[in-house]
Amino acid sequence: MPEDPNSTFAEDLAELYENAPCGYLSLRPDGRIFKSNLTFSRWIGVSQLDLLDKKFSELLTLSGRMFYETHFSPLLRMQGFLEEVAFDFVTGDGKKLPVLANAKERRDDDGNLQFTRVVIFPAAQRRRYERDLVDKRIAAEGAKSEAISERMLAEAGLSEELAIAELREQFIAVLGHDLRNPLASMEGGSRMLLQEELSPRAQRIVTLMQGSVQRMSGLIDNVLDFARGRLGSGFALRLDADELLDPVLKQIAEELQLGTPGISIETNFNITEKVYCDRDRIGQMVSNLLGNAITYGDASRPIRFSAGTKSGVLEISVANSGVPIAQEAMERLFQPFFRGGVRASQQGLGLGLYIASEIAKAHGGSLVVTSSSIETRFTFQMPLRPTTK
């Protein structure tokens, strides 16, 4: 560009070279400095005279020198220039001077290297920023692997919990079977005793014992069902309508009546249609509902037990008088191991209503409860031909 002699802004190129806002170095083919500018001399803290004939690589840190030999110099030879390379100089007073540099070779027409020009820019802040990024990345990777190991720890804990739970339920199932056998002997024994000539007192005691055996048998059934349900086999239903339901319900009511003298159970059966169901299970459900009414109801008032069919639906209900169920208890009534406040001697496992509701569900039916100061009533409804399972 031609210079305008009239312009007051004519650039002083010699002064620009010396005081440019970047460092200039010119290297001979052997890598020695033959020219440098004042800016670079100031930054590195070595006079321009002392820089003369010094090897460029001798101004670098040890790792900078290795970098120069293994990266800088080969690349410069291969492509004739370098841009944005990073390395550190060592200043006259021994400090590190991090820089970015561009370099370009000048070759003659035969391709022989004449000299190399290097431009230097300080890069302390950029280097700090890069270091920061690397640190953050390392920290992020550390946090990631920590999170992974924590997750695995949690999963390992979870799988152990599951294993313990499984073991516990198997234990319950096995225990249930072992309890049944002696119980069956007791029931058989008490039945045989009742056929003997007994004093009225002995007869009353044996009858009470039979009631206790029945109650215990029901509890064991519930425990087994609960364990089975959790073990994944669920409630296996044998559905058919080959036999009538009434006799089953009557028998249960009579047995419970017998086992708990002083309680009266009023029955009202009106089953006019065939019911497609598992009668043993329905019996178990009714037994649980009656057992619940006996435990929690007012013993001086009768339990009202009714069953009937109407417009394609079987409805069974059990109602007792007494203190109504508290609202907050209503919500958890059908959950396993829920027990209302009763005398310790009467406490069950809290599985009766849970099992009853599961049986209702398995039949495609429902079990609902209403409770007021007048009565507490459990109502079971199911279609005469269940659609599920």
């Binding site: 290795m66 293994t70 990266h71 110099s73 690397v134 190991s149 695995m152």
Partner: protein, 302 residues
């Protein structure tokens, strides 16, 4: 219902062990997958092997720490008329298969030597010439000891059997200096790896072209570069030298801070059938700074 009685600390310990077992199992699995992949990718693809030239004998060129097979671009073509020339990239460098990189395998130079032997077997080399620069000089020495049939001549450019001083042995670096160097690889992340990317080999007027070439030239994964530097600068192969049976040429530069003249002399003294040629070239890369001298010395030897 309470669970089995077990002190909480013991339980925690059990879980911790389980977690460790799981994680080590996973890493074994992933290693297994990597190895599998490695065997599927052919050796020639894995090491980006490039064949050229024609001749009865083969000449293998191996690059050192820092760049890739482009290091030989001014030397190798001079041998294409009389030799089949074979160039390759070490795994982790240039166009090699980065997926084949395995920190355990490449924790010693032997891992790299095994790759070299695999290349030799794949190409059915016998009595070939090996030309290795910098750290690859020792990789070639190790390979020739493990399988002496592949190479009958070794040409070692700027070799060093050990960079760290040891008693009377002068490698050129103190342990502290090498530690500082390895530390600085982490400290100047961009300096050693990513900063080498801009427009290398490219035409400044056509940056897109430069970009394309950049990706296959002197590219180093920063983490692999760090490990390669550690393996290189902490290696000690002095005991291997006297067992070399191949005839050997050592090319020594002046003012080479990485492999100084006394180190080249040490190599000559310890390799039985060796000779040393002192080049006028300075620095560590005569293959780039003085290719003519290097070519002449190799031609005179082979």
């Amino acid at each position: 219902m309470p669970g089995p009685a077990k002190p909480p600390s013991a339980k925690k310990e059990l879980l911790r062990r389980e977690a460790v077992r799981c994680s080590s199992f996973q890493s074994i699995q992933s290693n297994f997958v990597l190895r599998n992949q490695e065997s599927r990718v052919s050796v020639l693809e894995r090491n980006n092997v490039k064949l050229s030239g024609s001749g009865e004998r083969s000449m293998v060129f191996a690059h050192g720490f820092g760049c890739d097979q482009n290091m030989w671009k001014l030397v190798a073509p001079a041998f294409e008329s009389k030799f089949r020339t074979i160039l390759f990239d070490h795994v982790g460098a240039g166009g090699s298969d980065l997926g084949a990189y395995d920190s355990a395998k490449y924790a010693s130079l032997e891992g790299y030597a095994d790759d070299l032997i695999e290349i030799g077997k794949e190409l059915k080399l016998k009595g070939a010439v090996f030309v290795g620069h910098s750290v690859s000089a020792m990789i070639g020495v190790i390979a020739s000891l493990k399988d002496p049939a592949i190479f009958d001549s070794l040409i070692l450019v700027g070799p060093s059997p050990r960079y760290i001083d040891d008693g009377g042995y002068v490698g050129g670096f103190s342990r502290a200096q090498i530690d500082e160097l390895l530390e600085s690889l982490a400290d100047n992340h961009l300096g050693w790896s990513a900063a080498m990317a801009p427009a290398i080999m490219g035409n400044p007027d056509r940056p897109e072209l430069g970009e394309e070439l950049t990706n296959s030239f002197c590219r180093t994964d920063p983490d692999i570069a760090k490990e390669f530097a550690r393996v290189t600068f902490t290696s000690d192969n002095r005991d291997d030298l006297q067992r070399v049976t191949a005839r050997t040429l050592i090319l020594q530069c002046r003012e080479d801070i990485i492999a100084s003249e006394n180190v080249g002399e040490y190599v000559k003294q310890h390799i039985p059938h060796s000779q040393l040629v002192m080049l006028n070239a300075t620095g560590h890369c005569p293959n780039l700074s003085a290719p003519g001298e290097v070519i002449a010395a190799i031609k005179a030897f082979v």
